[in-house]
């Protein structure tokens, strides 16, 4: 009896499992959970060894307040000059990186893990400038992106950013959770 019941439900179980697999995969591809990172990048060494402590040095803002996101090759080559030295004993001189040669200045060879769907209007500048009464920031880069500054690779460390994470923060900070705050 029990065996026949199991046989009866097997197709349903398999179907559900495949269905969840496909929807998970679709969700991942929309949110770019496996984004291409063609050039390796070591956040830790840039931050700790070479003293770039401000994230906005590379991930800055446009003049109208929109977040630039990933830097372009032009921003990398401002330090790693295209006609610079390949090797040097002096640690403070940024070397020339031959891997930039095949890219134009406007290229962005990385894709973002944190890509949000089209219906989300996320404003980095508003979230990053929100302050408590005593002047502390309400959110830091790490609260959503994880400890990216201490990472040595380009792996995703905090997972996909789902709406629940945004709403949890908004609830905890007594901010408005109305749909139109982020969605369009």
């Amino acid at each position: 009896m029990r065996r026949s019941l199991l046989l009866f439900f097997t197709p349903f179980i398999i179907f559900t499992w495949i269905f969840f697999g496909i929807s998970q995969k679709g969700c991942d591809s929309v949110m770019q959970a496996d984004a291409a990172k063609k050039i390796p990048f070591n956040h830790q060494s840039h931050v700790e060894k070479y003293g770039i402590s401000d994230c906005t040095t590379c991930h800055g803002y446009e003049e109208n307040g929109r977040f630039k996101g990933l830097p372009t090759i032009a921003e990398c080559t401002t330090c790693h000059a295209r006609d610079g030295v390949l090797t040097s004993d002096d640690q403070s001189i940024p070397r020339k990186k031959p891997m930039f040669d095949s890219y134009k200045d406007t290229d962005q060879p990385w894709e973002s893990f944190a890509k949000q769907p089209d219906l989300v209007y996320f404003s980095h500048s508003v979230v990053m400038t929100a302050k408590y009464d005593d002047g502390r920031l309400k959110a830091r880069c790490g609260s959503c992106h994880g400890d990216k500054a201490d990472s040595t690779g380009t792996k995703m460390i905090k997972g996909k950013m789902l709406m629940g994470q945004c709403m949890d923060c908004h609830t905890a900070l007594n901010l408005s959770n109305k749909c139109a705050v982020c969605h369009d």
Binding site: N64, G65, Y121, S123, C179, V181, H183, D184
Partner: protein
């Protein structure tokens, strides 16, 4: 230790005043709205059930059979009227309560939002709307040639089978807020914006602003005798006590879009009164 976080309240209540005496019916507001909100292009825009447009420019005449000296015409740009119900502090538009998917909601600034990606296409809200301000996407949105590349990135394209409507260009408010924070203005209530239709109107017939701010142009316009709201019978009641009891007894839409006109026939028509 539980920290006390100060709540930032939105004080704005966005509203609109449209001067029908100034409106020439050029249709620029409609074009600007379609472009700003990524509306699809159809072969035949006169095909009303197929067309998707937030702002409909209606031509109104006093009588269909009227002959030359008696015929009167006016143009009426009709978008979502942003109903707030009887109590502005606790807005209750007819479309919000019927939505089974919480796709439509009232924001803190009184704007009735619609998230088309969340919409399941049941069209209850379209039935509930007394102004026919909501439209349903019957067909897949299509764009000619390379038009798709020029779409606004701030607004998502509504897919087939969803209900869409005007949201007072709330993405422009978000954009303006970004620009304000870049300049160091962190107060949420300091951000002002203009929707596409109001910004493009060549005669200045459409005025947009904050109804809570009693110095704003739109508030002053709504307080004049010319102001009339579309089919909101409670506006006709002059007696204050009677008005109060009416508001207690029944829900009214109380739209935040005001029309200004001095022509009596048009005022009567907008209140569904018989032509005098």
């Amino acid at each position: 230790m539980k920290e006390k976080v100060k709540e930032v309240k939105m004080k704005r209540r966005w509203g609109m005043a449209i001067d029908l005496d100034k409106c020439t019916g050029c249709g620029k507001c409609s074009v600007a709205c379609n472009q700003e909100n990524n509306m699809p292009i159809f072969e035949d825009d006169s095909d009303v059930p197929k067309r998707v447009a937030f702002l409909e420019l209606m031509k109104v005449t006093n009588d269909r059979d009227a002959k030359f000296p008696d015929v009167k015409t006016a143009y009426l740009p009709k978008m979502c009227q942003m109903c707030e119900g009887n109590d502005p502090k606790n807005p209750n538009p007819p479309c919000v309560s019927v939505c089974p998917a919480v796709a439509t909601d009232v924001g803190d600034d009184g704007v009735v939002s619609q998230i088309w990606s969340r919409c399941i296409g049941c069209r209850y809200c379209q039935t509930a709307c007394p102004y026919e301000a909501r439209v349903f996407n019957w067909w897949k949105p299509e764009y000619e040639g390379s038009f798709k590349k020029s779409l606004s990135t701030d607004v998502s394209v509504a897919s087939r089978g969803t209900v869409v409507k005007c949201t007072f260009c709330s993405h422009i408010w978000k954009r303006e807020r970004d620009a304000a924070t870049a300049k160091g203005i962190l107060d949420i209530n300091a951000v002002l914006y203009t929707p596409a239709c109001a910004g493009t109107c060549p005669t200045g017939a459409i005025v947009f602003g904050d109804l809570n701010d009693h110095d704003s142009e739109v508030y002053k316009l709504t307080q004049t005798d010319r102001a009339v709201r579309l089919t909101n019978p409670v506006d006709d009641v002059k007696d204050a006590d009677k008005k109060k009891s009416l508001l207690k007894a029944k829900q009214f839409t109380n739209p935040k879009v005001y029309y200004l006109t001095s022509q009596q026939w048009l005022r009567d028509m907008m209140r569904f009164k018989k032509n005098s």
